[in-house]
Symmetry: C2
C-alpha cells in the first residue's frame, strides 16, 4: 500500500450511516490518516460518531493525532465518562497535552473520574513548562527491578506491553525508582533466561533532565540513534521517557521556527494553511514596521550626501546594486552560521578559526564582486569606476562580518541566534553600505563632505 491512497468515501459512508462500511474502512487506515481526514472533512458531531465506531486503542490514537483546536472542541462535546475512558487509553504525554487545552471546569470534572495514579501522573506531566522535555516526555516507559533475571524481565515486559509506549528499551530501577541501567528487548531476547539483568544492562546510560529544552533531547536521540531516552531528576530518579517519534516532531517544529525567524516572521505555532489572516498579519507586521525605522538611517545617509549625488548622478545607478550586495553576502553568512549553531556544528570554541576563515572567504567574495561591478562601470561610468570598486569590496566585507557576528552577539545576550534574520542583516548592511559608498565617493572624487 502506498500511503497516498485516497480515502474519499468516509464522508459518503457517514452520510449513508453505513456502519459496517465505516468499520472496514477505519480498520484499513493508519490512525494518522484517519485523524488528518477528520481534521479536514468532519465537524464535531460527525467526529464523535466516527470515534464511537472505533475500538478503544484506535480511538485513543486517532484522537491523539487530531489538531489541538479540534481535540479541544471534540473533548468539550464529549460525555465526561467517555472522555475519561479515552484519557485512560491515551499515551500519557498526549493526555497531558490535551488536558492543558481544556477549560478549568472540564479539567476538574475529568480529574474526579480518574484513578489516583493517573491523576497524579497527569498533574505532574502537565506541570512542566512548554518547550521543556517534561512537557513532551511520557510516563509509559517499561521498567525492570534491579536483581531480576532475563526470564522474569521478559515476563514483566510481556505483561505490561499493552499500556507501555515502547517496550524495546526497558529501564532497570531500584526500590526508590533510581535509574540503574538500561537493557534493550533485543539483548533480553538473545540472552539466556537465567542471566542476571545486572550483568546484561548498560550502566552508562545517556539521560536528560525534564527541565532541559526539548531540542536537547532531540539532538541526543539523533546523535546516538536512540529509540528513546530516559529523563531523570538530579538524584537520578527516573521520571519519564522521550521517544524518537516525539524527537522527530520537535526537530520539525524547531526547524520551522528557525526558518520563519530567518525571514523575520514571528513564531507561528500552527500550520500556514490553518493560520487565519489576522494571525499571519500580527506575526509579520512588527518586524516590518521596525525595519522601516531602521531603513530611515539609509535614507538619512543618502540625503546627507545629496550634493555628492547631484554632482555625480551616475552614482545613483550603482546604489541599489552596491547596497544589495552587502545584504546578500551578509544573509549568506548569517544563514550558514545560524544553521551551524542549531545543528551543533559550531559550539566548542572554534570561533577564532571560523572568524579567520570568514574574513578570507568574504575577502575573496569582495574582490570578485568588485571586479564584476568595475567591469560594468567601465562601460557605464568610467569616472566612478574606482569608487564603486572600492565600495563594493568594503560593503561585501562589512555585510559578511555583520552576518557572522550578529548571531553570536544575539546569543550572548540570551536571544535566539535565528533572530539575526535576513531582513535585519540586510537592513543593517544597507545603511552601512550607503554610508561607505558616499564617503568613498566624497574622498576619491575629492568633493567636500556634505
Amino acid at each position: 500500500m502506498q500511503y497516498v491512497e485516497g480515502y474519499e468515501n468516509l464522508v459518503e459512508l457517514v452520510e449513508a450511516d453505513d456502519q459496517e462500511g465505516l468499520k472496514a474502512a477505519l480498520n484499513a487506515m493508519p490512525s494518522a490518516d484517519v485523524a488528518e481526514y477528520i481534521d479536514e472533512h468532519f465537524e464535531v458531531y460527525n467526529t464523535l460518531t466516527l470515534l464511537d465506531l472505533m475500538e478503544a486503542e484506535q480511538q485513543a490514537e486517532v484522537f491523539g493525532y487530531l489538531r489541538p483546536a479540534h481535540q479541544q472542541e471534540v473533548a468539550s462535546h464529549m460525555e465526561i465518562s467517555v472522555l475519561a475512558k479515552l484519557f485512560v487509553d491515551m499515551s500519557s504525554d498526549e493526555r497531558a497535552d490535551v488536558y492543558s487545552l481544556l477549560d478549568v471546569k472540564l479539567q476538574d470534572a475529568l480529574m474526579r473520574r480518574l484513578a489516583r495514579s493517573e491523576r497524579e501522573d497527569l498533574l505532574r506531566l502537565s506541570s512542566y513548562e512548554e518547550g521543556t522535555i517534561g512537557a513532551v516526555m511520557t510516563s509509559d516507559y517499561a521498567t525492570i527491578p534491579v536483581g531480576a533475571n532475563v526470564e522474569l524481565a521478559l515476563k514483566k515486559l510481556r505483561q505490561s506491553a499493552p499500556e507501555k509506549e515502547s517496550i524495546y528499551q526497558a529501564y532497570v530501577i531500584d526500590g526508590k525508582h533510581k535509574l540503574m541501567g538500561v537493557v534493550s528487548l533485543r539483548q533480553l531476547l538473545t540472552a539466556a533466561p537465567s542471566e542476571m539483568i545486572d550483568d546484561l544492562m548498560t550502566r552508562d546510560v545517556v539521560t536528560v533532565s525534564p527541565d532541559m529544552p526539548q531540542s536537547e533531547a532531540a539532538r541526543i536521540i539523533s546523535r546516538y540513534d536512540l529509540i528513546a531516552i530516559p529523563a531523570v531528576t538530579e538524584d537520578n530518579l527516573l521520571v519519564g521517557m522521550v521517544t524518537f517519534d516525539d524527537a522527530m516532531d520537535v526537530v520539525e517544529e524547531e526547524d520551522t521556527e528557525t526558518m520563519h525567524k530567518s525571514a523575520s516572521v514571528g513564531s507561528l505555532d500552527m500550520s500556514l494553511t490553518e493560520a487565519g489572516p489576522i494571525t499571519l498579519y500580527k506575526k509579520r507586521i512588527n518586524w516590518l514596521v521596525l525595519l522601516v525605522f531602521v531603513n530611515i538611517f539609509s535614507g538619512a545617509a543618502i540625503t546627507y550626501y545629496e550634493d555628492t549625488i547631484m554632482a555625480y548622478a551616475s552614482l545613483l545607478f550603482f546604489l541599489p546594486l552596491l547596497i544589495a550586495s552587502g545584504g546578500n553576502s551578509g544573509s549568506q553568512t548569517a544563514t550558514l552560521v545560524i544553521r551551524a549553531i542549531a545543528t551543533g556544528d559550531i559550539g566548542r570554541g572554534d570561533g577564532v578559526k571560523l572568524f579567520a576563515k570568514e574574513i578570507l572567504v568574504s575577502g575573496l567574495l569582495g574582490l570578485s564582486m568588485s571586479a564584476a561591478v568595475m567591469a560594468v562601470a567601465y562601460f557605464r561610468a568610467p569616472d566612478i569606476m574606482l569608487v564603486v570598486g572600492i565600495s563594493m569590496f568594503a560593503i561585501v566585507m562589512i555585510g559578511s562580518l555583520t552576518g557572522l557576528l550578529l548571531p553570536f552577539l544575539l546569543k550572548l545576550v540570551g536571544w535566539d541566534p535565528a533572530t539575526a534574520s535576513t531582513p535585519l542583516v540586510t537592513t543593517i548592511a544597507d545603511a552601512v553600505g550607503v554610508m561607505v559608498y558616499f564617503i568613498t565617493a566624497t574622498i576619491v572624487l575629492g568633493l567636500a563632505i556634505g
Copy 2:
C-alpha cells in the same frame, strides 16, 4: 551520565600507550562520541591503533560514524584483510556508503575478499542514485516466512538478531520474497506461541519504493511514527528497509540544504567548520554575481527617472525604505510558503484559498506600512506624502505576491521551491519597487516622464 562529559584523556592514553586504560575508556563511551573524538583529535595512524583495540561490533559502529573523508583515509591505510572483516561487521547501508568512497582498485580488492551474498548485496545497495531511498536503505531487516507461527517467528528473530539492524519490526515474506505483511516484536511477545503469523500480521503495510527521494521515506516515517519502513519493488518484492535514525539524518540534511538555499548558498555537503575557504567561496559567489546583474535593472530604473529625482530630491530619502519593505515582506511570504511546501502543509490543491488569504494579509500589511511611512513623510517631506503612501502599499503587495508565486513557479518548472531565496525575491522586489515608486511620483507630482 550526561552526554556532555569530556573524554579529554584519550589522547594522553594513546600517547602513553596505556592499552588497559584505553579499553576501559572506550567501553564507557557511546560509539558516536568515540567517532567524533577521533574525527577531531586523531590522525590516521592513531585511529588505526584505536580501532584495533575495540571489539568487532564497536569497531564497525565507530567506523560507521566517522566523517566520510576520514573513513576514506583510514580505509585506504588498512590492511585489506582487516578492512574486509570490518565490512562484514558493518550495517549494510553504511558499508555501501563507505564502498562508494573507495578508489576502484581498493573496491576490486575488497570485493574479492567478500562472500558472494555480501558482494551482491554491496553492489546492489551502492548502485542506487544518491538521494534516493535505495542509497540509504539497509538490507539487514528481519524476515519471517509466511505460514510460521509465533513460536517459530520468535525463534527466528532470536537467531538472526546479531546481524540485523532492527528486530522490532519483522517483515512476513512468501517464497519469492514478496512482502505479505508486517508484525512487530511487541505483537509477537504478547501473542500465544501457537498463534499463526497470518492472523496476527498487519496486511496494509505502508511501503516506499527504492527510487523515491529519501525525504519521502523520512516524511512517512515521521507521519506514522514508524521505527522502520520497508522498501519494495513494483511487484511488491522486499528489497530494503529505512530506519527512523536514517530518517532523522535525512531530515537534518534536507533542512540544512533548504536553509542554505534560502540565502542563495549552494548545496554544501559537509559542515561549515569542515568546509575550506575555497569551497565556501564557490558555493556563494555564483548567486552573488548573478544578483549583481539583476540589480542593474534597479540602477537603470533610477537613472531613467533622474529628472524626477533632481526635481524632488526628498524622494531619495524614502528610496531605501520603500524598496527594502517590498523585499522584506516578500521574503516573509516566500519563507512561509517554502517551509509549508517542505512539510507537506501545502500540496493538496488549496492554492486558491492560500492566494486569497495572502492577498488579504499583504493588503493589511501594505496599509499599515503605508500609514507608518506617511507619518514619517508628514514631518520630513509633506509634499511627497501621498507618493510614498501609495508606493509603499503597492510595493508591499507586489513583494508579497512575488514571494508567494515564485516558489510555485519554480516548482512547476521542476526546480526546488527553496531556490526562491530571500536574495532573489528581494532583488526582484527591489527592481519592481524602484519603478513603482518613480512612476507613482511622476504621475502624482505631475512631472513629465523621463
